[in-house]
Symmetry: C2
Subunit: 689 residues, 2 copies
């Protein structure tokens, strides 16, 4: 027997030599393989399970056997013997399976590190674009076992805990340097209040949750491995909350509710107006959102526990998970536009709505849950992502975090469309942003027969360019031209406008042509219109047309969006973006070819136009699960350049030009085949590239 | 004219050469003379006034004249012309008096820096022992003038303020390095809530209060130079509060109230018992002290404003001080024994009273005022000094801070006597501490005819050793043996016991001698006693004796105190301390010779025994006025060695031996002349030195 032995770690294949007597966990760490542990290597938490593989491994030229490691310790025996089902279900036997903190090397071994023991390697897949997220939460848990105080060492409870914690932190995290010393750690005041009782009730054996390596925010009796957090996207219309396991990154529940502030105003400007006109307006809108967040938190906990309960019979008794209480949620990350951000934090949003449109704060905010009345742990942290400008809020920060334009060589154009559209353009070298009001038309509101995307709504429209007859698809029906129509939803309005332009029912200025040989184009009550569905095809007994007014609304919206995009491209000296990312629900429903056809988005290869769904919610979840991402987005947003469109002297001019379909100075080569009749507009020379 | 000029600064006499064009404030700083400024050198705050002295100064070989500095600027002219009374009262004229931030050097000058302009050099004299305190408060104020936002630069309010503040901090504080960068400064959440309104109301000209160089806790419109803080000593019986000007260190009001917790128990043990027996006990006692603190704060503000008002006619209109509001108080520093400390912080004190006697926390606590319900600024900080042990609390930390044994070569013995006595012994090398219950006798309580130090109380007693007749002095009377006695206060009890021992009325074991030729020694209702005042000399119509029981009480108290002191001396291998410091009201009233005579304090040169009054209150005030002192006491208390007497195996034995007058094995050479009859006690050999 020599003093150095070979160790091979599977499945990574890492190998190296290590001193006799070294624990397998330490040896693995030295070879760059992290094995979990939260009990300070006391052999009690069972997070560091490994398997000693037996046999001759020719590839590595070693004989691995159980005798090449130290014998099973009493702690290991106790741990495994109290979990017979674990061994049975996995087909393991004691001696083969070991706790790597207890098991020391005495000869050559090949060690298998099962998935569940691998540290710091969890991956979360995003619903939309499957981007992996490394789980590095702000909350870390440590099991701390202390010697009870006695007359010889009557050191205070906090100092006793902090000293034990210091030991535990450095052991669990592999003796990293620069860990806080115990008198640099602090404890949240409300957490301190119950500390003495908890430590005694727990017989000096507690799980400590440390926030951001610097503040103790929860102390629980005994061993608890999971901690919980919630990511929230506060939209003007909908609030979506994701309850996550901060250890695994798993989403335990996703809940959403209407934003209760809607009763005070449908869009942000009318809510700001409400706070200006009512003395307690800010307070009222703030309370409304806090109440809804508490409701969503309770719902999410209920859902998560229901799932745990439903799966409970999958677990053996010794393995059964503990149910979640709302106070076990230790952190929330929230995003929303600047108005939602201000109302969440009970900050008066007045100056967001008045020139020169200034938020109270850009940088991210950390505040205790109890300060806001959120019913998670009172010591829990509420992190709100940074705002970029008055109309480019924390939701855009979250979209940037999710889509990472700051890490790409390609120039991305991010567009988050709602009543207001936020646009970010750029790559790792430079990012510029702006925002523009697009009005409610793109969401199907304020359109004559507009309605939500619900059964009965026309969602797709196609017009035959010869006969000018339409086909349409109704939500809830399997085939085109089936069922009774009730109205038109957002995506169909874009379809319809694009189709009447493509079929030359309207000219490039959006004006209806009056000498067409079809009854569908007619002068209706409110001006010229094109009838998509005759009264007898509807459930409302009236013709459903798309009117001149509707076309104008879409023209204004698309002009605003297009001019904003153009302005950013111009600032970056770009002709067109390499990729276009459409965030938000809107992007997921529209037909991107049609959107390009009417000039809603700049010309780009269609395959490089992506709809990524709720990227703001994803960004919030990324920031919740990985604290390093918070510093990243703080730094990125500090450098994003803001452009306020109204201050651009060319804006009005450009905007007017951009109302035509699609803007005539643009090549739009990717949709050229759809509009062979397109001619250069004589006004195009005025459009500055 | 050369490029370098001579500058002489009076009254310090600092001199040096400086480049032409340098402002006098900068030049002074380079020579180590700090001149105040809070307006970022904008010439608006007037804190940096200096005088240019004219004439030939042979000593320095220079001709100083007004022409040797840059002409008076418009800002200076505006500042001084709006303050004619200032100039008149001081006899200054513009040109002679200058703002040193505006006035630049063009030739040799001799500059006089008046007292009020000198930075960082304020001195506070302590009431008791005149120890100077350098004023370096945690709160610093900065005047920040900002450019209003516009459409081109719509940066958020907080970032605008923080950037202005960064500039202001570095200018005001002389370009120091390592100042926080704006995104490392934070703003208290509650302060952020009103920020936008304040900045606009103030037309972008605000005074910012920064706590500990890292957190903005107050933003006020316009210029405010003063900030306020309160230092509090929470005694079991009395709460004393000092309202201070944090800029000057001045005490603006000193208020005190009975501790309202007295109704729940007279001493700390009975209050702890109350919290054990009543579920809401801790909460109740906590609320009681918070209410009283709020009352004291309101009283102190009222007193301070009354004084300001009374002196208002001393000020000219342009100089009149602004009145103080309770929300202008930005910080409090509190001290108290460990039980008072716990109840202040709403921490359950149970384990302070049960073996092994463990506090919840040793280290100092910083918590927002709003968390405790204290009615100073909600963003204000509450700093509670560290505790050392269960019975050596934050009050002892404060006494250490005031008396600084850790900075002395001499060994100090600090004794803070109440119902419990805390003792600290040592010097810069090592400090040890302990505590001992002394019972209420030393404070005059539980003594047969004991009473508070109020008119009618006997305060001094002398007994003629021949005739055994007493003389006594009554509070409120000018001469001895005048007036009608009502009872005996604490100091007189020690006097009386010392005198009956010195006059050999009792033996060294404290037993009354029964064969004395005086009617004053007699067997009374509750045993043997010595009558100090006959019934006809009193206002209560009864004889006022000192009883065997009273003597026993004093014996027990002094034995406890003496044994504690002896134990510490033994641990430090010392025969006797170099100095004895008696802290607390008790120390101020007793006759130190008599105290030594009965062995209450160890033998020491009488001139090295000091009574320092409320040293705990002084320590709290020092920590309030100088933030560096907080780190100092945190560090010192971490190193103080604690000894719990009951764990010392010799304690009971020593304690019994020490009940005799004075302990017979002790030399007590400094009082030997008073007791020529003293003989060595045969038991002395058992007393371990």
């Amino acid at each position: 027997m020599t003093n150095k032995h070979n160790i091979i770690l599977q499945p990574s294949g890492r190998r190296g030599q290590t001193d006799a007597g070294t624990s397998i966990r330490t040896a693995a760490r030295d070879l760059g393989v992290e094995i979990e542990s939260i009990c300070a290597e006391n052999g009690t938490c069972g997070k560091c399970i490994i398997l000693i593989e037996e046999g001759r491994f020719e590839k590595y030229n070693i004989d691995s056997k159980r005798e090449n490691v130290s014998p099973v310790t009493p702690q290991e025996r106790k741990y495994f013997e109290s979990r017979p089902h674990l061994l049975k279900s996995k087909g393991w036997e004691i001696g083969q399976v070991r706790l790597s903190c207890q098991c020391r090397i005495r000869g050559d071994v090949l060690v298998n590190v099962p998935e569940e023991s691998r540290g710091n390697k969890q991956i979360v897949r995003k619903s939309a674009n499957e981007r992996p997220v490394e789980v590095k939460p702000a909350i870390r848990k440590y099991l701390v076992s202390m010697t009870p105080p006695n007359l010889e060492r009557p050191i205070a409870d906090w100092e006793r805990l902090a000293k034990g914690l210091e030991t535990s932190m450095s052991l669990v995290r592999g003796g990293e340097e620069n860990l806080p010393r115990w008198y640099e750690l602090s404890i949240d005041y409300q957490c301190l209040r119950t500390l003495s009782k908890t430590m005694r009730d727990a017989r000096w054996n507690v799980t400590v949750s440390v926030w951001n390596d610097k503040e103790v925010i929860q102390v629980q009796p005994g061993l608890h491995e999971n901690s919980y957090g919630a990511a929230v996207d506060i939209g003007s219309t909908t609030i979506a909350l994701y309850l996550c396991n901060l250890r695994t990154g798993e989403i335990l529940a996703a809940e959403s509710e209407m934003n209760p502030q809607i009763v005070y105003g449908e869009d942000v400007m009318s809510r700001i107006q409400y706070t200006i006109e009512h003395k307690d307006g800010t307070e009222k809108l703030h309370k409304a959102v806090i109440e809804t967040l508490n409701k969503l938190l309770r719902q999410a906990v209920k859902t998560a526990n229901k799932n745990l309960y439903a799966n409970a019979n999958k677990y053996e008794e010794d393995e059964r998970p503990t149910y979640i209480k709302i106070e076990d949620i230790l952190e929330m990350v929230l995003v929303g536009n600047s108005t939602m951000h201000h109302l969440l934090l009970n900050l008066n949003p007045k100056d967001l709505g008045l020139a020169p449109f200034v938020p109270a704060i850009h940088e991210s905010v950390d505040v205790k849950a109890r300060e806001l009345g959120l019913q998670i742990s009172p010591s829990g942290n509420i992190h709100v992502l940074p705002t970029i400008a008055s109309f480019v809020g924390a939701d855009t920060s979250a979209v940037i975090l999710a889509e990472e334009p700051h890490k790409q060589d390609d120039n991305l154009l991010l567009i988050d469309v709602g009543t207001n559209a936020e646009l970010v353009l750029g790559n790792r070298k430079r990012l510029v942003c702006t925002s523009t009001p697009t009005g409610p038309a793109l969401e199907g509101a304020h359109v004559e027969y507009g309605m939500r995307a619900a059964p009965g709504a026309i969602e797709r429209v196609h017009i035959d360019e010869k006969t000018l007859e339409p086909k349409y698809k109704i939500i809830g029906e399997e085939n085109w031209n089936e069922g009774k129509a009730k109205g038109i939803c957002g995506s169909a309005i874009i379809d319809a406008v694009a189709e009447i332009f493509r079929a030359e029912v309207v000219d490039s200025r959006g004006k209806f042509k009056k000498n067409l040989s079809t009854k569908r184009v007619r002068e209706g009550e409110s001006g010229w219109e094109y009838v998509i569905a005759w009264a007898e095809e509807t459930s409302i007994g009236r013709d459903i047309p798309i009117t001149q007014q509707d076309v104008r609304q879409i023209q204004l919206a698309k002009a605003a969006l297009f001019t904003a995009a153009r302005t950013l491209l111009k600032r970056m000296n770009l002709e067109s973006p390499d990729k276009i990312i459409l965030a938000g629900g809107f992007g997921s429903y529209i037909d991107k070819e049609k959107a390009m056809l009417i000039g809603l988005i700049p010309d780009c290869e269609l395959e490089n136009v992506y709809a990524v769904g709720n990227a703001a919610g994803d960004g919030a979840r990324i920031a919740l699960l990985n604290i390093e991402k918070r510093n990243e987005i703080d730094a990125v947003t500090r450098k994003v350049e803001r452009f306020e469109l109204p201050t651009d002297p060319e804006f009005q001019n450009q905007f007017m030009l951009a109302t035509s379909f699609p803007h005539m100075s643009e090549p739009f080569e990717h949709i050229a085949h759809l509009i062979p009749h397109r001619k250069a507009d004589p006004m195009a020379k005025n459009f500055i590239k």
